[in-house]
């Protein structure tokens, strides 16, 4: 009668149930969401884009590998967060960037952006943006020289500057074209919204196609992979603020319309894939609103008054820096306690 097959019992404490999502699976969602934008990058910028993405991913993953303890390497790489950082950085690079710079950028992203902080989850700044800031500071010319968008017919036309030797700048003669933001800022010229939407403009390889970025962002929102408050706050603030600036300064000023603000430059990529990076954005719901509003405000301000046409990079990095403080002051009111 006695049950002799007494199993050796585990003593794991409750809760025994877990919802299905795991951290690597959450990362996978971001990879999927970036597929359309990556495809658009390849479509418009051909093999150059492919090579840039591969090298920056390689730089990031190799750095993670080298700087992680031997026995934790496999585990650290397996969450794919380093590769994702590499991809995100790659998408913010101009098509003609020498590949060695892309590799260095990926490596700095992970090295200074993540490893020295203590690995996944501990960094204050978004690693991809930190890498981009490093590249922009170190190679300002290479990072602000843009080639025109091509089409699938020109897939194999590689920018010769991609193959500059390490520590060399490369030649930029013929290919320099201004981005829509540059045109707006320096030439007072607007680009048709249609082009901004589809992505056949000059710009960083993954930032030009608003349509495909929106698709990816929508996917993340529906999957609940990102906090909806951050994009909502950024969009609302940025469009409202640029509308106000436009109204104050009159239509013939070189101030962009709200739609232009949203669909140009790195705003969409930054909003959906960098500002919403959970590690470097606030934990609390109210904090997310403040964070998003801050970014929306700063990006317009920097674009209008800064020396460079682009503003998303510093807007996000600045708000990253404010995140611990925001978290501290926006702790939710505990049930049954007065705030």
């Amino acid at each position: 009668m006695m049950n002799n097959k007494d199993p050796k019992l585990l003593l794991q404490s409750a809760p025994l149930l877990r919802q299905e999502l795991t951290t690597p699976a959450a990362m996978k969602d971001v990879w999927i969401a970036l597929l359309p934008a990556t495809a658009a990058a390849l479509w418009f910028f051909g093999l150059s884009a492919l090579l840039l993405l591969v090298t920056s991913i390689a730089g990031a993953v190799l750095t993670e590998w080298v700087f992680t303890d031997k026995d934790k390497r496999r585990f650290a790489i397996s969450d794919t967060s380093a590769g994702l950082t590499g991809l995100l950085l790659g998408l913010t690079l101009p098509p003609g960037l020498p590949l060695w710079m892309a590799f260095l950028g990926g490596s700095v992203s992970i090295g200074l952006g993540k490893v020295i902080w203590g690995g996944l989850g501990t960094n204050l700044f978004n690693p991809a943006l930190l890498g981009r800031a490093f590249l922009l500071g170190t190679f300002p010319i290479a990072m602000t020289t843009w080639g025109p968008a091509g089409g699938p017919g020109e897939f194999f036309q590689i920018h010769s500057s991609n193959f500059a030797w390490p520590l060399m700048q490369g030649q930029y003669d013929a290919l320099s074209t201004a981005t829509p933001l540059g045109l707006m800022k320096f030439e007072h010229e607007t680009t048709a919204l249609g082009s901004l939407f589809m992505g056949n403009t000059a710009g960083s390889i993954g930032e030009t196609s608003s349509l495909f970025l929106l698709l990816g962002g929508l996917f993340l929102l529906l999957r609940r992979s990102i906090d909806w408050r951050i994009p909502a706050a950024i969009f609302l603030t940025a469009s409202l603020f640029s509308l106000i600036m436009l109204l104050i300064n009159g239509a013939d000023s070189n101030f962009p319309s709200p739609l232009f603000t949203l669909f140009s430059g790195g705003l969409l990529l930054g909003t959906f894939f960098m500002a919403t990076d959970p590690v470097t954005s606030p934990l609390t719901p109210r904090g997310c609103w403040i964070f998003g509003i801050g970014i929306g405000f700063l990006v317009v301000l920097i674009r209008l008054y800064g020396g460079l046409p682009e503003g998303m990079l510093y807007a996000i990095l600045l708000m990253n820096a404010a995140t611990p403080l925001i978290d501290r002051y926006t702790q939710p009111k505990i049930f049954g306690r007065k705030s």
Binding site: M1, M2, N3, K5, D6, P7, L9, L10, L11, Q12, S13, A14, P15, L16, L17, R18, Q19, L21, T22, T23, P24, A25, A26, F75, D79, G119, L120, G121, T122, L221, L222, R223, R224, D227, W228, R229, P278, V279, S281, L283, T284, P285, R286, Q331, P332, K333, I334, F335, G336, R337
Partner: protein
């Protein structure tokens, strides 16, 4: 589709417009395994173990010696002080030992062992040797009677019920809240009780309402138990001041404070008891035990236990004499499957692992669940990615992410001073929600134990 994308949560508002509590999680409820299985009685086995300290408070004091003969229902241990309760023999037989015995958690505790007579019957002796006329009792007599009945909270906490009913003079109870939410997955013992003995539930409500002088009774039942709701309503008559309140299916709906929020839309202030705002909360199991005691004179000697989970051969809802070794209960239902890796007592969200199957069923054992490799294997623990899913899960609006991080660093004071760790009820919602598989509740438990011990020392 609904699994892949959740539109609801996408547009969830930062504040709540509807009644009910905010946050919480939706684990699959897994109740289909046992929800329709009628309650069965487990026959007597040869040996019973009655730990003296199976309730919260001071352990009971034995009033029998080894070798004494006892009848089913007879007092074997009396309360020691006010926050303590009585123990009765679940079976007719002989006291075979009073000493240390394995407890469910693997520790040893003082217990009375009873050897059952081979032909023991279900007949029990009424220890108060007359059937009460509960109507004529004053509140003091009522409280004494409840203490001598051995009744404790049957939802799992096992807090002596009479202590709950001792309301200070300056306080008034206006509402009696009966917890039939049963929000823990797998468990169906309360559900079956409501389906099969609705008159007893309603009767118990009326007894307690009258004794506490409460105006109304609300019985909260999660909407995934339509049969329970329907049965209770069928037996409800106009002269009863009882409301049956269907509740949203959400974990932890059955947590005391959440239940109060859902039903009365009141936020019980931290550190306060429900009675401070005029509410007495009781589990349906406790209510039925009261009815059985005051109507039939049966002290708390048996309870309903759900036997479920992928590791048991034949899931069941059982009436089990308290003190039955868990192994015997499992054997009655065909034993464990070979793939079983872990057996827990209580629900999968808040229950505790069982270290020794020879330990007995206690007054607070609502379920015995067995799990296999599939449910117990965990992906590796990843670092916290600050995804805030735990914050969105916590019904108390704590910051589990921060708490886990500080707990790992053993910064217990900061956990208390800045993040109110003591307000955590260990419901496990945060840990359920964490994609990085961080044992958040475990860190919180460690911190709370540490802080409590420190308080005792100073």
């Amino acid at each position: 589709m609904s699994k892949l994308f959740s539109l609801n949560s996408l547009f969830s508002l930062p504040f709540s417009l509807k009644k009910g509590f905010s946050h919480g999680v939706h684990p699959p409820h897994h109740k289909e395994q046992t929800a329709d299985l009628p309650i069965q009685r487990v026959p007597f086995v040869s040996r019973y173990i009655m730990p003296l300290g199976q309730h919260i408070g001071v352990p009971s004091e034995p009033v029998v010696k080894v070798g004494d003969r006892v009848h089913r229902g007879e007092l074997i241990a009396q309360p020691k002080g006010f926050i303590s309760t009585a123990l009765h023999s679940p079976v007719t037989g002989k006291i075979s030992n009073i000493g240390m015995h394995r407890y469910v958690d693997g520790s040893f505790r003082q217990a009375i062992e009873i050897e059952a007579d081979p032909y023991a019957t279900q007949q029990f002796v009424n220890t108060h040797n007359n059937v009460f006329n509960v109507k004529d009792m004053n509140i003091e007599q009522f409280i004494d009677a409840v203490q001598m009945s051995g009744i404790v909270g049957m939802g799992g906490a096992a807090f002596p019920s009479h202590v709950k009913y001792s309301i200070p003079d300056e306080q008034v109870i206006t509402d009696l809240l009966v917890n039939g939410a049963e929000c823990e997955p797998y468990l169906t013992n309360d559900h079956r009780l409501m389906v099969e003995r609705p008159e007893a539930v309603l009767r118990g409500c009326e007894i307690l309402r009258q004794k506490l002088n409460a105006k109304r009774v609300a019985i909260g039942v999660e909407k995934n138990k339509p049969e329970s709701i329907c049965q209770l309503k069928n037996y409800l008559t106009d002269d009863m001041a009882i409301d049956i309140v269907p509740l949203e299916v959400k974990y932890p709906q059955g947590a005391e404070k959440m239940l109060i929020k859902s039903i009365y839309n009141k936020e019980l202030p931290a550190g306060k008891l429900p009675r401070d705002i005029g509410i007495a909360v009781n589990n349906v199991g406790t209510i039925v035990a009261l009815a059985d005691y005051f109507d039939h004179g049966m002290p708390l000697i048996e309870r309903i236990v759900t036997l479920a989970g992928p590791g048991v051969q034949e899931p069941a809802n059982l009436i089990v004499p308290i003190g039955t070794p868990i192994r015997d209960v499992l054997d009655f239902a065909g034993g464990l499957k070979e793939q079983t890796r872990e057996v827990i007592s209580g629900g999968p969200m808040m229950g505790s692992p069982i270290a020794d199957l020879d330990a007995p069923i206690l007054k607070g054992t609502s379920g015995i669940l067995a799990f296999t490799e599939k449910e117990t294997s965990r992906p590796p623990e990843y670092p916290c990615i600050r995804c805030a899913r735990c914050l969105d899960a916590c019904p108390y609006f704590l910051n589990p992410s921060r708490l886990a991080l500080l707990g790992k660093a053993r910064l217990f004071d900061e956990m208390q001073d800045k993040y109110n760790v003591m307000d955590c009820v260990e419901c496990g919602a945060c840990t359920y929600a964490c994609p990085s598989n961080i044992p958040i509740v475990q860190h919180i438990r460690t911190a709370k134990d540490n802080l409590r011990n420190r308080k005792v020392e100073t």
